[in-house]
Amino acid sequence: MKITVASGKGGTGKTTIAVNLALSIKNSMLIDCDVEGPNSHIFFKEPMVKLKDVSIPAPKFDLDTCTLCGKCVDFCQYNAISIVGEKLLFFDELCHGCGGCKIICPVDAITEVEHYVGVIEKGGTGDLPVYHGMLNIGEPFGVPIINELKQFADDKKTTIFDSPPGTACPAVETMRDVDFCILVTEPTPFGLHDLTLTVDVIREIGTPYGVVVNRDGIGDDRVDRYCEKENIPLLAKIPNDLEIARLYSSGVPMVKGLPEYRKLFEEMFDRIKEMI
C-alpha cells in the first residue's frame, strides 16, 4: 500500500504525520520526496548513506564540428542554449535533458553526458527503511529525483511518501500513482486556502484522500466546516501542544516523546484502510 502525505502550505506538519504514521504501523517504510528540503531523516538516529547519484542526460557540444547554425538554439524550449557572436553557450541548469538538440543537430556535433542534479540516500532501520533525495544547490528541477525515489517503494510494505509543499509539478508527481493521500492543514485562513488548492489537484488526479488538522485549537472551525460541506473525511486532529513543537524542534518523533499519541496514528491508519 502507498500513502502520500501532502499539503499546499508549507510547515503544516507533513513530515510530522509521515514520520509518526510510519513509526506507528507495522511493516512500513518512509520515502521523503521533498527533495528541496528533506526533513524526515532528522527524526531517525541512523545516518543517511548515499545510494546513488541522480543525473539527467545533458548535451556536450563538439565545437570543432559545430557550424553555429543555431538549429539547437531555436529548438530548445527551455532556452538552455544560445549563440553570442561566434560562441555557443550552454546553461546546464536550464536543461531538462529531453535530447532534442542532439536529434536536430545536422552535423552530429552533440553527444550526451550525465548532468548530476542530486543524490538518493538511505537510512532508518531494517524494520523501517528511510529513503530521501536531495536536490543539488542551485539546481531548479527535482522531479527526476522524485521519479527515481518512487521506484524504491517495496510492494510488500506500507510505503509512506512525504511530499514537497505546493501544488506544482513536484507535489503532483508525489500524489500520483498512490492508493491514498493524507492532506495536512492548519485551522487558519492560510491553511484552509492552501487546502482548497490541494483538494482541486487531488480531485483531478483521482486518488482517495482525507484531511488531518494539525495544531487544532490555534485557529477556528473553518476547516471542519469546509470538509463537511465538501464531504471530505476528517481523519484526525492533532492538538496545538507546545510540547509537540518542542519535541519536533529537537528531532524527537511525537510518538516516542508522547507515546499516548500512537493510538491516534493507529486509528488514522485503520480509517485509511477502510477507505481504499
Binding site: G37, N39, P57, Q77, G99, P140, G166, P170, F190, G219
Partner: protein
C-alpha cells in the same frame, strides 16, 4: 534605483508571509510581490482589488491527431518523460513541453500548442500595489510565472516611482525560489529553531551564496528551543550573516490572521514591536 527584498526560509511555515505582510504595512513607497505562485497567501491579508489580469502561458503542450497517426512508435521511443504509452497513447499531464515528439513524428500528427498555465494580477491594496499570480494545479513552469510577477512588479515600481519591491518567497530551493531571488538586492532568511528549520535554512543560505546574493537573517519562534537558537546565532556568525532580530513564539500572529489583518495592524504588543524593529534593520541593510 529600485531595490528588491525577497523573504525566504527553505522550510515552509516559518512565518514568511506573516512577516512579509507586516513589512507591507510598515514600508513606504513600495510595491509588493507574492512569488509563492502555487500557494499564494498574501492576498488573504491584503484583500487586493484586481486592476489588471493577464493570462500566463507556460511551456507548450503536445497535442496528437489520432487520424494522422500511423503508430510508428517514434514518439514513444524518444519521449523521456513517459508521456507516451508503447501504443502511442499520449498522457498530456506528463508532457514537459520539450517538443521532441513533434520533431520526430514523420507524419505531423503531433503539434505543440499553447496552454494556459496560470494568471498574474496587478492589484491595489491598502498598503500600495500588489503583483500576484495563480499557477494552475500541477503546472511545470512555476519559475517562469515567478519571473513574470517580478517583471510586472518592477514595471509598476518604475511607473509609479516606488523604490522598494517586497517579495514574499516560496519554500524550497528549486526553480520558484531561484526565480524569486536571483538578482535581488537582499534576501531575508527566516529561520525557525527546529532541526528541520535549521537544515533547510542552511540549504537556502547555500543557494544565496551560489547566486552571490547578500543575505541577512531573523529567527522566528526563537524561544521554542533556546539551544537551537544559540546554534543558529553561531552558524550565522561563522557565515557572516547578520541576524537582525529574534521573534518570540506568539499566538497573536494567528489571531491577526483569523481576522485577516497583518500583525502590526492587529496589535501593538511585543510581537508587533519586534517586527517593527526588524523592519527598521532590514531597511537599513537594503
Amino acid at each position: 534605483m529600485v531595490k528588491e527584498l525577497t523573504i525566504i526560509s527553505g522550510k515552509g511555515g516559518c512565518g514568511k508571509t506573516t512577516i512579509a505582510t507586516s513589512f507591507a504595512a510598515l514600508a513606504k513607497g513600495h510595491v509588493m510581490a507574492d512569488a509563492d505562485v502555487d500557494a499564494a497567501d498574501m492576498h488573504i491579508l491584503l484583500q487586493p482589488e484586481i486592476r489588471k489580469s493577464e493570462v500566463f502561458h507556460g511551456l507548450n503542450i503536445a497535442e496528437k491527431n489520432d487520424d494522422l497517426c500511423i503508430n510508428c512508435g517514434k514518439c514513444y521511443e524518444n519521449c523521456r518523460y513517459g508521456a507516451f504509452d508503447p501504443d502511442n497513447t499520449l498522457h498530456p499531464e506528463k508532457c514537459e513541453g520539450c517538443a521532441v515528439c513533434e520533431l520526430v513524428c514523420p507524419v505531423n500528427a503531433i503539434k505543440m500548442v499553447e496552454r494556459q498555465a496560470g494568471e498574474s494580477f496587478i492589484s491595489d491594496t491598502r498598503f500600495g500595489p500588489l503583483v500576484h499570480a495563480k499557477l494552475h494545479p500541477g503546472e511545470e513552469a512555476s519559475g517562469k510565472l515567478v519571473a513574470l510577477v517580478r517583471k510586472r512588479a518592477r514595471e509598476v515600481a518604475e511607473s509609479q516611482g516606488k523604490d522598494i519591491i517586497l517579495i514574499d518567497g516560496p519554500p524550497g530551493t528549486g526553480c520558484t525560489v531561484i526565480a524569486a531571488m536571483t538578482g535581488v538586492s537582499l534576501v531575508l532568511v527566516i529561520i525557525e529553531p527546529s532541526l528541520s528549520g535549521i537544515h533547510d535554512a542552511k540549504r537556502i543560505i547555500e543557494v544565496a551564496k551560489h547566486f552571490q546574493i547578500p543575505a541577512i537573517a531573523c529567527i522566528n519562534k526563537y524561544d521554542i528551543n533556546m539551544k537551537n537558537t544559540e546554534d543558529i546565532l553561531d552558524f550565522c556568525k561563522e557565515e557572516g550573516i547578520e541576524v537582525v532580530g529574534k521573534i518570540p513564539y506568539d499566538d497573536t500572529a494567528t489571531g491577526a490572521m483569523l481576522v485577516e489583518k497583518t500583525v502590526v495592524e492587529f496589535t501593538n504588543g511585543p510581537l508587533a514591536k519586534t517586527i517593527k524593529k526588524i523592519w527598521e534593520e532590514v531597511e537599513k541593510a537594503l
